[in-house]
């Protein structure tokens, strides 16, 4: 009994991997086409955003802040936040947008969120590697002290962003008003994302407040992974993991509920 159950689970897993792969290719084709640089466009937006903001800060605030290169600091902050904001934006009414694909039973609504989020994540990672390589060449970016910690930080940051997508996608199907609040909410989120400051630059009281935000833990991990001993980082990897687990559980329950009433043309 358990063995056949396991086999079923394994088979289901294989089907979902295949479906997500197919959905990602389809999404890349519909969004970027095959003209000029094609799917490489996925990294252009985070690249431009992080690059231009970094240059702006460089001229406004000088080359360094608290002894850290400002260009590298801004880049490490903006690429993750782009992942979060784009991930959320791409999750809004994603079920209705892809409704015609629900004609194929092996495609689950969660696959839509996963495939879109993976594309954003790939784009973000490619942009990260690309811009860091260039900046390292010009000596504007340190060679990461601990790549493992950098990747782990990116992963928990992405995990938390993804769990939020799991909630936003079904909620946006349930209420039209929600869509209007998303841009302003993600904007207000900026200071709580750990983007502008390291926790160690803040007063202890402020730091305690900020460390409630799971984003900050991921961000601190990434920056610790890059600058190593040059900075003091405050993080607890369990904060974003536990927060993600709770939010994802609620999100999955909402998805299940919305699927029952979803009407497909």
């Amino acid at each position: 009994m358990t063995r056949s159950g396991l086999r079923k689970l394994h088979e289901g897993w294989r089907v979902q991997v295949r479906v997500i792969h197919a959905l990602m290719i389809r999404e890349l084709h519909t969004r970027f086409g095959r003209e000029n640089i094609g799917f490489l466009w996925i990294m252009v937006e985070p690249l431009l955003f992080a690059g231009l903001v970094a240059i702006m800060w460089r001229f406004m605030k000088g080359p360094e802040e608290h002894g850290i290169g400002i260009i590298a600091f801004v880049v490490t902050g903006y690429i993750p936040i782009t992942l979060f904001r784009h991930g959320i934006a791409r999750s809004v009414v994603v079920f209705t947008a892809n409704g015609s694909l629900l004609y194929h039973r092996q495609i689950k609504i969660i696959d839509f969120i996963i495939s879109r989020f993976l594309i954003e994540m790939l784009g973000g990672m490619m942009a990260y590697v690309f811009i860091a390589s260039i900046l390292i060449y010009f000596d504007e970016f340190p060679i990461p002290a601990d790549i493992g910690l950098l990747i782990a930080g990116w992963m928990v940051y992405a995990l938390f962003s993804f769990s939020l997508c799991l909630i936003i996608a079904p909620l946006s199907e349930m209420s039209d008003a929600l869509e209007k609040f998303i841009p302003v909410t993600t904007y207000i989120m900026l200071p709580f994302s750990g983007l502008f400051t390291l926790a160690s630059w803040l007063t202890p009281t402020m730091r305690d407040y900020l460390l409630w935000s799971p984003f900050v833990h991921g961000m601190e991990m990434m920056r610790k992974g890059i600058w190593g001993d040059q900075i003091t980082a405050y993080y607890n990897v369990w904060n974003p993991i536990i927060a993600s687990a709770i939010i994802a559980a609620i999100g999955l329950a909402l998805c299940r509920r919305v699927r029952r009433t979803l009407s497909v043309e």
């Binding site: 295949r18 479906v19 792969h21 197919a22 290719i25 389809r26 084709h29 519909t30 409704g99 015609s100 694909l101 629900l102 004609y103 194929h104 039973r105 092996q106 495609i107 699927r259 029952r260 009433t261 979803l262 009407s263 497909v264 043309e265």
Partner: protein, 215 residues
């Protein structure tokens, strides 16, 4: 076998609800060719979507003991901005089939030629029908769900469908929603008449068609 057990489906309508299907029970045996009859808005397409798993019933259960195609109809199943070939590639991927075989069959069956390189949104409804049928025939299902679409084709297409579905796939199950009583009499051995949310199964197609004609 496909079993529908106590199927109810309600849609929101203004402030209230509209019950489109109310406690529908019937079973389709392997090899059955079932016609779904009913007036416009009676719930034929809804029932087909529920059987195909596109939408979920509000309550009740559907058990599928064979592979069931996606509903072949005017809408759904395709991405309009992608080309016919891209859609074929996508279908081949998600149903784990060899793309080259699917492509060859689609080219041969649809006779769309270079149009297959164009986005599906530029297709006429007849061309879409050809593509949808070609893909589902290439994948080979045990049961085909057909929603009206068979009527939009031209003579050549009807002849092909006739051959592929009725001669080569004589053993397959079919659930067909149609207003064409002629087609239903010719193709089907059983019929389900949907009226006021109730579904009645007839083993005598002629009787079902007569009842339907008098609604």
């Amino acid at each position: 076998m496909i079993v529908c057990h106590n199927i109810c489906k309600t849609y929101p309508l203004g402030a209230g609800h509209k019950r489109v299907l109310d406690n529908v029970n019937f079973a389709v045996e392997r090899g059955d060719r079932v016609a779904l009859l009913g007036r416009n808005g009676a719930g034929k397409s809804t029932l087909i979507k529920l059987i195909g798993g596109v939408e979920m019933p509000t309550s009740g259960q559907i058990k599928r003991h064979m592979s069931v195609s996606w509903p072949l109809g005017f809408a759904g199943g395709f991405q309009g901005s992608l080309t016919g070939y891209d859609n074929a590639r996508f279908i081949a991927r998600i149903y784990q089939r060899e793309y080259s075989q699917i492509r060859d069959f689609v080219e041969d069956f649809t006779e769309l030629g270079r149009q297959l390189k164009m986005p599906v949104k530029t297709y006429s409804s007849g061309m879409r029908a050809r593509l949808a049928f070609a893909l589902s025939l290439a994948i080979e299902f045990e049961c085909y769900l057909i929603d009206e679409i068979i009527l939009v084709g031209d003579q050549n297409f009807n002849r092909k469908c006739h051959y592929e579905l009725l001669e080569r796939r004589r053993d397959r199950t079919m659930i067909l929603a149609s207003h064409s009583t002629e087609l239903v009499r010719e193709l089907c051995n059983r019929a389900v008449l949907i009226h006021n949310g109730q579904a009645t199964l007839y083993d005598d197609v002629n009787l079902a068609v007569e009842t339907y004609a008098n609604l």
